[in-house]
Symmetry: C2
DNA sequence: GGTCGAAACGGACCACAGTCCGCTTCTATT
DNA sequence: AATAGAAGCGGACTGTGGTCCGTTTCGACC
């Protein structure tokens, strides 16, 4: 009973050396990606660049995929902030259908921009939990605002699916650059699902 | 002019030893997958099991992903035959909407069944070219039969997207087994896109 | 049958992701 | 301030994907 209550001792205060290394690793990783591209980043090089041992890198990120997920997480968070609190039509304030269409275009461009990183981050890990559920929840919410009836969870997933890079790639690669066509196509799809104009 | 016409000497007769090794590799690979699972198959083990050198394995398949793609290709071909010439409603003979709905369910189950293999095969390589374009063409054709108007290529891709494993996984894993719900959801989605009951 | 060029073979070799475990550094307790 | 125990560290080590290149095998043409 001499210990302070568990609730007061926060889960993990994080030691000072650990914090220093974390920061060194993140900035080194960012720099490396900028220099040699996502594919060229090796865990050995990262450890060396950050001035830490390889074991430390794996302690932090668990795996190469975990590292990529951590890098993704940063810009993903910014984007989520823009959706939740940024200016309309992406952020709140615009009519739901406008917000939804803005969401689709924005997400599509974001995924195209981060294509390499997303693929290197793989399926499992921290990414899916955070990113996928957020986008699904948001679209589901907008569908509700639009008084759409049916399995909103499924419809939300179905609308987001064609925005994933794995799907976008096959459309972008061969036919040069019909991004306008993709935006228009998604808009049409969404209107059909929503049920009018 | 002494040579036989090029059209008669087919592009690549394939040497006998090469053919023998190809067969040995394919059956060894199938056996290994059955024994230790997709993840447990290593290229070294495969080479050893088939009684060839490692270089031969890579000559055949190019990479681990290529090997998985080759394994996938087999069942994929069977499935395509069922779609093109099997019994209705998946095969020809049923009304277009019924065929389309049967297609969705069948494709969904196929992707779930081959989940491990598909993921191990990765994005690039022979798989996308064959599988993706076939499914897209087929759906596009059915949409045309249904007199749907708009960018049929995009709509086809959008309908197929939620059937990909990368999307299915997030729906199947957490909520146990609502496969019926997925089938119903896709059916609803399709009816909305097509434009009527 | 003998010869020649090309295709195929195979195992030594390399690079990189990921593990292991002894050592160091921190924080809490007295 | 000293100490004990835990958290963190780091680099040697392992397993596997993938490459390289000298050797073998094939098939076509004399």
């Amino acid at each position: 009973m001499a210990k302070p209550l568990p609730l007061l001792t926060n889960p993990a205060p994080e030691r000072r050396d650990a914090a220093r290394n974390r920061e060194a690793l993140m900035s080194a990783a960012t720099a490396l990606v900028a220099e040699v591209g996502v594919r060229g980043v090796t865990m050995d090089a990262l450890a060396c660049r950050a001035g830490v041992g390889k074991g430390t890198v794996f302690r932090r990120f668990g795996s190469r995929e975990g590292l990529m997920a951590a890098l993704l997480n940063h810009s993903e968070t910014e984007w989520q902030a823009a959706v939740m609190g940024g200016p309309p039509p992406l952020g709140p304030g615009a009519p739901p259908l406008e917000r939804l269409l803005a969401f689709g275009e924005s997400r599509m461009l974001l995924n195209l921009r981060h294509a390499e990183l997303i693929e290197a981050a793989g399926n499992p890990g921290a990414r899916s939990v955070a990113a996928v559920s957020f986008t699904t929840m948001h679209v589901r919410y907008l569908l509700g605002q639009l008084r759409v009836e049916g399995d909103l969870g499924y419809l939300a997933t179905a609308l987001i699916a064609p925005l994933e890079i794995i799907v976008l790639r096959e459309q972008v690669e061969p036919g040069s650059a019909p991004i306008d066509r993709l935006v228009a196509g998604w808009s049409d799809l969404t209107r059909r699902v929503v049920g009018m104009t």
